[in-house]
Amino acid sequence: MKEITDDYIIALLSESTSYQQGFRLLMQKYQTSLYRHIRRLVIDHDDANDVIQNTFIKIFRNIERFEGKSKLYTWLFRIATNEAITFLSSKKRKNTETLDAPHAAFMAEKLTADVFFDGDEIQLKLQQALATLPDKQKAVFNLRYFEEMPYEEMSEILDTSVGALKASYHHAAKKIEAYFKH
């Protein structure tokens, strides 16, 4: 099957008559990777569902602001990351949750009971370790470790310098390793 290019999607989105078709193709192409990125940040499926829907609604309403200076998927990941981090901040304010050891224990309990989590013991411990990171550092680690994204693109998504991202990733990796070995 021929791959749908970003240029083709953007061309469809530029015409009001083909806007919805273009949007559906955009979702078809990126929904899985965006969902995975959001889910790794917010963990819970229902939360991830809310965040991804809000993300695509924002994309639907603001696609004309995409100027083509960066890659389309970089722009999409930027919106998705901002939405997820905003959601987590809001949730923490409501629940007065903290990203410390008790939160990690709570995370393990929650994931064990989650029917949409099918990880083994090591994966569960990795999620617990990730839960100890601040939200933005967790986003840095996820984009580099799981998505294998170049720092330059991460810099566009997170609006942070490449040097700061390298340092953040380094510290995050060390914290996670220490969590496994403590």
């Binding site: 919805q20 949007f23 559906r24 979702m27 078809q28 929904q31 899985t32 969902y35 995975r36 889910r39 790794r40 499926h45 569902n49 991804i52 829907q53 695509f56 609604i57 639907f60 309403r61 029917v115 949409f116 989590f117 099918d118 990880g119 083994d120 090591i122 994966q123 990795l126 999620q127 580099r144 470790y145 294998e148 170049p150 990733y169 380094h170 990796a173 060390k174 996670i176 390793e177 496994f180 070995k181």
Partner: protein, 187 residues
């Protein structure tokens, strides 16, 4: 690029580099069945419903100045402001009635004798004649008509064009002996 990222990770944490290989192709996060098949429809339906809610076609958006008034009224009609306004209104109305109820007393104090006499003259039918006589007001009013108190009665009897016999008969029929004696003494 992938190799570069892998080398970087191995330099930072060989443990995490090995862990990544171990966990490769094992995605722990699952979704409900057909989740991605319906996601686009759900998002588009949500966009459309939000658009309808934000700009309902049957209602035009009011101009800014109307919105400002509405916001102002909404602020004023908050319970604490409404209570303050109600208290102020009650005080204002009570004060107005109090001030105006005192007005006639103060007016009569400042009225001249001429003004009072003129008022009585214009509204003579409303006054008790005996009361006026007791207070000496009727004499003044009568004299203003260029006559005396008796002239006043005399003028009225002349206007009625009644004969002396008729008056005498009326008095006998309607007055007892004491009244007649008192009447004769007064003549």
């Amino acid at each position: 690029m992938k190799k570069e990222i892998e080398e970087e990770l191995r330099n930072i944490s060989p443990f995490l580099a090995d862990l990544k290989k171990e966990l490769a192709d094992k995605e722990p996060f699952k979704t409900p069945k057909f989740y991605f098949d319906t996601l686009a429809d759900n998002v588009i339906a949500k966009v459309e419903s939000q658009t309808q809610i934000s700009t309902p076609p049957q209602y035009a958006e009011p101009p800014n100045w109307i919105s400002a008034i509405q916001r102002g009224l909404a602020a004023i009609l908050q319970p604490r402001y409404a209570l303050a306004f109600a208290t102020a209104a009650v005080l204002a109305v009570t004060g107005w009635f109090f001030m105006h109820s005192q007005q006639p007393v103060s007016d009569i104090n400042f009225a001249t004798t001429e003004e009072i006499q003129q008022y009585i003259h214009d509204n003579i039918d409303d006054f008790d004649l005996e009361l006026l006589q007791e207070n000496g007001a009727l004499a003044d009013v009568a004299s203003e008509d260029n006559g005396t108190e008796n002239d006043l009665f005399g003028t009225d009897l002349e206007k009625l064009n009644v004969s002396d016999e008729e008056i005498e008969r009326y008095l006998k029929e309607n007055m007892n002996e004491n009244d007649l004696k008192e009447f004769e003494n007064n003549l």
